[in-house]
Symmetry: C2
Subunit: 331 residues, 2 copies
């Protein structure tokens, strides 16, 4: 697969340099220049929220740094978690004296490094952890804590970010982030792989007329593979798996995210969204603040994911609060 | 190439249905439901602006309907211009009694149908025409009127839209649109083709290690084909071609659009933008309101374009005026 790049070894640093040039509200810091943070720095007295992960998923994760969302984000090489040093830097940069929530996707390497960073800062900065676990295809409901984090984590960024902006303390922001994660379910489908810069091969192989339901964003195995089907049929299957996880007594308002993994165009996301909207209406569910576009990608991978965030009054209020990140702005 | 769709024959109508469901400020109208317009309808006394073109380029063209931009947009099948009837409908819907500017890309089929629509409405609605001709690779500077319109047309939408919103009359809005088109230059590069739904073959063929400079968004031949080169080298070539067209006496402020043709990820647009910003700084040019993302695509085609809009005081003022289209919002 063709890349517009200077070299595999400069890919990530060139991307980050471009990101902060294009978005002056973001700045680059940390000892290895692998932390993106709000240009103004931490806000004194506000709970900080930091995230992080591998590169190759823009606008995830760094594109959600901004007012009412993340304060900082540590970033690794493509599909590799940030190193401990960058996690430490990101926590320090996010700290405004009221503690820092580490809010990131449930992947082993990320977890190890964020945990070590928290231990390193023990006694200096109070930290808590919430892991994104929205991918319903990655483990069964009774093993929910084993699930991977994918596109739906942006709901937790938005909702916890708004809570912190309101002046809540660390334990309340942490509880709200956990509530947002628990309320958000995602399922993806893959059509074609991507290729890590410098790697000789694509991330996986798939026949020219096949798709895979539930495949992870790095090519982790999904639920099943099949010949391509009509979009409505695919969406119905995806939706029914998400609706199975609707919380008991849920009030009937959701936010929907239909997300491209990269090469799948907006046209096809809208074909999917049309069906999602029709089916949810049939089910008596109202859609609030839908998002359709490129929110969490794997470079040039073709495919898409659907996320539902099952709202209650508090979550809906926080979802609609102002936010000023470059890729999710609410005014 | 794999599509998430129900069938080739329903592709466009499914997309449009999804578009207006996801963006309630847009509505679908016209006798064949192929006109996207502002949900509130035309504003009495304001000059209307209509555009149109083939499907397959989202967010172009329909995604730029909204306050301070387009009033309506007629849309054809994938890579086919809107039919005369839809052009007539779109002009009528855009008409608030002060005349309607037809502002669209310079392609033969579109021109014929928009011209016939204007003639049909003669005596009823006053119309004028400005054609997008920003693609510098499609004809030499002395044949500027033969150039095709590509991504840069969104600057004309934004600038003429703001002028109309200020209450200017049809001739002033038309002159401003023409000025914005003249001030905007684009060059593209293609890495891989896309495929029209229902078609057996991709739009063109290109070797696995090649790219083509200046190729059009439907696969129209470009300037030259070569083995892939480092991004900075490619950007330098593209920029020097754009800067050759810098108007004499230009004051040194530009807006820059780095646009993905579809599959090329945000990462690689930012690698390009980093170089654009560095080179323009060297040249003593200041960047205003940069845009980096998916603004005018060809479905899953890989490639990118760079547009420069050479600003003067009036253009910069209109560029920063409020606008409320789903894919270019200024507050």
């Amino acid at each position: 697969m063709k890349k517009i790049m200077n070299s595999a070894s400069t890919y990530v640093d060139d991307v980050l340099a471009g990101l902060v040039l294009a978005h002056p509200r973001l700045a680059l810091g940390g000892s290895a220049n692998r932390v993106v943070h709000r240009a103004g720095g931490a806000r004194k007295g506000k709970v900080g929220i930091t995230s992080g992960g591998g590169s190759g998923h823009l606008p995830l994760f760094t594109g959600y740094v901004g007012q009412g969302m993340l304060d900082s984000c540590s970033i690794g090489n493509v599909f590799e978690g940030p190193n401990v040093e960058s996690c430490i830097d990101a926590i320090k940069i996010a700290d405004g004296g009221a503690g820092v929530l580490r809010l990131y996707g449930n992947y082993g390497g990320d977890r190890m490094n964020f945990d070590m960073a928290g231990e390193f800062l023990e006694g200096e900065i109070e930290t808590t952890t919430v892991l994104g676990t929205d991918d319903v295809a990655s483990a069964s409901p009774d093993e929910g804590k084993k699930r991977r984090g994918v596109a739906g984590i942006i709901y937790a960024y938005k909702i916890a970010g708004a809570k912190a902006e309101e002046g809540a303390d660390l334990s309340a922001v942490t509880a709200t982030a956990a509530k947002a994660v628990a309320a958000t379910k995602t399922i993806g489908l893959a059509l074609s792989p991507c290729q890590v810069p410098g790697s000789a091969k694509p991330t996986f192989e798939i026949a020219a007329d096949e798709f895979e339901l539930g495949m992870g964003i790095h090519g982790e195995p999904g639920l099943w593979r099949s010949k391509l089907k009509p979009a409505d049929e695919i969406v119905d299957d995806m939706l029914s798996r998400l609706l199975e996880e609707r919380p008991a007594g849920h009030g009937g308002r959701v936010s929907v995210l239909v997300n491209s993994l990269g090469a799948t165009p907006l046209e096809e996301l809208l074909i999917m969204y049309r069906r999602v909207a029709a089916k949810l209406r049939e089910t008596g569910i109202d859609i609030v603040q839908p998002l359709v576009g490129h929110y969490a990608t794997s470079m040039e991978m073709a495919g898409a994911s659907i996320s539902l965030c099952f709202l209650d009054e508090e979550l809906e209020h926080l979802l609609s609060a102002p936010s000023g990140s470059p890729f999710w702005e609410v005014k």
